[in-house]
């Protein structure tokens, strides 16, 4: 579903920094991959390269067989298939919860209002927000906002979902409700790439864990391997710091 081959990303402003160094990863359909690593290791950059919010400096990235770094590729078509959930939710504050979920369906997928509404209601029901459809995002708790953001991304019926620290901005008591929604998605067979510090989630849900440091993939493997028997010293050090 996702193939990244020798991906490099260098930022030149404010100073030159190699955010991704020769990253190669292959993520199969239905797989749940959790990406962990210390701050500044390039996790977000990797995720953002996958839907071209950041344009990789070199290398190849294929989403469902489409070369997204090719200038001829219509990136908007690809982005419809790749949902993204942000750490800071990024709901549209001038739109109600319902409008947040229907807008892109109508504008991008060209669905009728009726169809978009129906789809939105089903998804809001699924994430447990169906009683708050007509309020504005700032009247919701962080956990509720993040669940709406997930519904908004799912409304495009993506083949892949990218999560960039979806629970890091939440109060501890709200983390569970968001993780539950993500677990349900994973169980339903969604292909997911999740950057998170929730090791419990990684252990329970991930098919594979990728550990990044200084822009490179240092180690990857099953959760069992990863948490019980890591190969690299850098991984051991990181795990000892967070567990």
């Amino acid at each position: 579903m996702i193939q990244a081959k020798n991906v490099y990303k260098t930022f030149y402003v404010p100073h030159e920094i190699n955010a991704l160094v020769d990253v190669t990863a292959d993520i199969a359909a239905g797989e749940v991959v959790v990406v962990i690593g210390p701050s500044g290791s390039g996790k977000s950059t990797f995720l953002r390269c996958l839907n071209r919010l950041e344009h990789a400096t070199s290398g190849h990235i294929f989403i469902d067989g489409i070369d997204i770094l090719n200038q001829k590729t219509d990136i908007n078509k690809v982005r419809m298939e790749v949902g993204m959930v942000f750490q800071s939710f990024n709901l549209f504050p001038h739109k109600t919860v319902l409008e947040n979920v229907t807008l892109a369906q109508k504008v991008v997928r060209k669905r009728s209002s009726g169809d978009a509404h129906e789809k939105a209601m089903a998804l809001l029901e699924k994430v447990g927000i169906s009683d708050k459809i007509n309020v504005y995002p700032d009247q919701l708790s962080g956990g509720q906002q993040q669940r709406v953001a997930i519904a908004r991304a799912l409304a495009m019926e993506p083949k892949v979902m990218l999560f960039d620290e979806p629970t890091s901005a939440l109060d501890p008591e709200m983390i569970g409700e968001v993780l539950d929604v993500m677990k349900t998605l994973a169980r339903e067979g969604m292909t997911m790439v999740v950057v998170t510090h929730e090791m419990g989630f990684a252990r329970e849900v991930a098919d594979r864990v990728i550990f990044m440091d200084a822009g490179a993939i240092v180690e990857e493997g099953t959760p069992e391997h990863f948490f019980t028997d890591p190969t690299h010293d850098r991984t051991k050090l990181f795990l000892s710091q967070i567990l």
Binding site: N51, L53, N76, K77, R79, M80, V82, G83, M84, F86, S88, N90, L91, F92, P93, H94, L103, A104, V107, V108, R109, A149, R152, A153, M156
Partner: protein
């Protein structure tokens, strides 16, 4: 607790009424002094002469254009129809009923009055005000369009677009509006009109050069306001929109601009209040907007005090209604 706080905020400070009195007395003293000094120079206030600059009843004469005889006078509804028959020709004139000055059979020469009636007409200041309003509305609409386009160009990645917008903004902001009006009319206007003339097309009226100069002038300021407004919207909004598959135009239209508009509206209102006031400069290119009309009225009547005070009040009415309307828009946006 909250109630108490509210109480304190609305509570008047000690001596409040006394200072209200001081204020009122101050205003009265100012008006008194003003009037006193005008009396000293023997200024003759004649406010009763000013209404004719708003509306007046004009005498209208219906005169014959041919030689002949009044062949028939018929009243039809509210109108009287007078037919004058000459040798081999016939003319029909209409006027309000009972305004005829002739009877059937009268002999008529060209220029003779057939009927006289009175009609209300808009006065000089009202006509001028209408032109000012028209110019302001047109220039505001064009200014917003120019401002949004150049504001978007200003933050584009494309250097050709970005530099064009930067040069435009710097050029406009770096010279006085008066000079720009003169250039629009006497330089660009001459070029454009000559160009049209050489292709046998009509001339562009002066008012359009006036509108163009104001629109370009305010467009440059709107451009900066739009740019700042868009940049004040968090990057995450664009990213969320784009990650859903919206293209640049869609994310601007549905996500960024509606949010930026809330930030933009107050400075934008200020800009258009300036535009209304700046339109008073257009008299120099022979556009009879309200200031020019007032100056003509002063020349005719030698009553500068009344007319210029009225002029000031007229601008105040325009600018005040605009700012009230914008406040209403802001409230409506805040509740939605």
């Amino acid at each position: 607790m909250i109630g108490e706080n509210n109480q304190r905020i609305t509570d008047r400070p000690p001596g409040y009424n006394k200072w209200v009195m001081v204020f009122c007395v101050g205003v009265m003293v100012f008006i008194g002094l003003f009037y006193y000094s005008s009396q000293k120079i023997k200024y003759n206030w004649r406010w009763n002469r000013t209404p004719i600059y708003f509306a007046y009843e004009d005498d209208i004469d219906v005169t014959s254009t041919i030689d002949g005889e009044v062949s028939s006078i018929r009243t039809d509804g509210g109108e009287v129809i007078i037919t004058v028959k000459g040798i081999g020709e016939e003319e029909i004139y209409t006027a309000p009923a009972d305004s005829q000055q002739v009877s059937e059979g009268d002999l008529i020469s060209p220029g003779d009055t057939l009927a006289t009636y009175q009609k209300w007409k808009a006065g000089l200041l009202v006509i001028g005000l209408w032109i000012t309003l028209k110019i302001s509305v047109m220039a505001t609409i064009l200014g917003v369009i120019i401002g949004i386009i150049s504001g978007l160009m200003r933050i584009s990645d494309n250097p050709a677009l970005r530099w064009t917008a930067m040069i435009y903004v710097e050029l406009i902001r770096g010279s006085p509006l008066m000079v720009q009006i003169l250039i629009w009319y006497f330089v660009l206007g001459t070029l454009i009109n000559d160009f049209f003339y050489s292709y046998g097309l009509g001339q562009v009226p002066a008012i359009w050069y006036g509108i163009a100069s104001l629109a370009c002038f305010s467009g440059a300021y709107v451009s900066e306001i739009v740019r700042a407004g868009i940049q004040s919207i968090h990057r995450g909004q664009t990213e969320a929109a784009r990650s859903l598959g919206m293209n640049y135009a869609q994310s601007m239209r549905h996500i960024i601009l509606p949010q930026a508009l809330r930030q933009i509206l107050p400075p934008l209102a200020g800009q258009f209040i300036s535009l209304i006031k700046d339109s008073s400069l257009l008299g120099i290119i022979a556009i009879r907007e309200v200031t020019k009309a007032a100056r003509e009225a002063v020349t005719a009547t030698l009553q500068p005090f009344e007319i210029y005070i009225i002029l000031g009040l007229l601008y105040l009415v325009l600018t005040f209604s605009l700012s009230m309307y914008v406040q209403y828009l802001e409230k409506r946006m805040a509740t939605s």
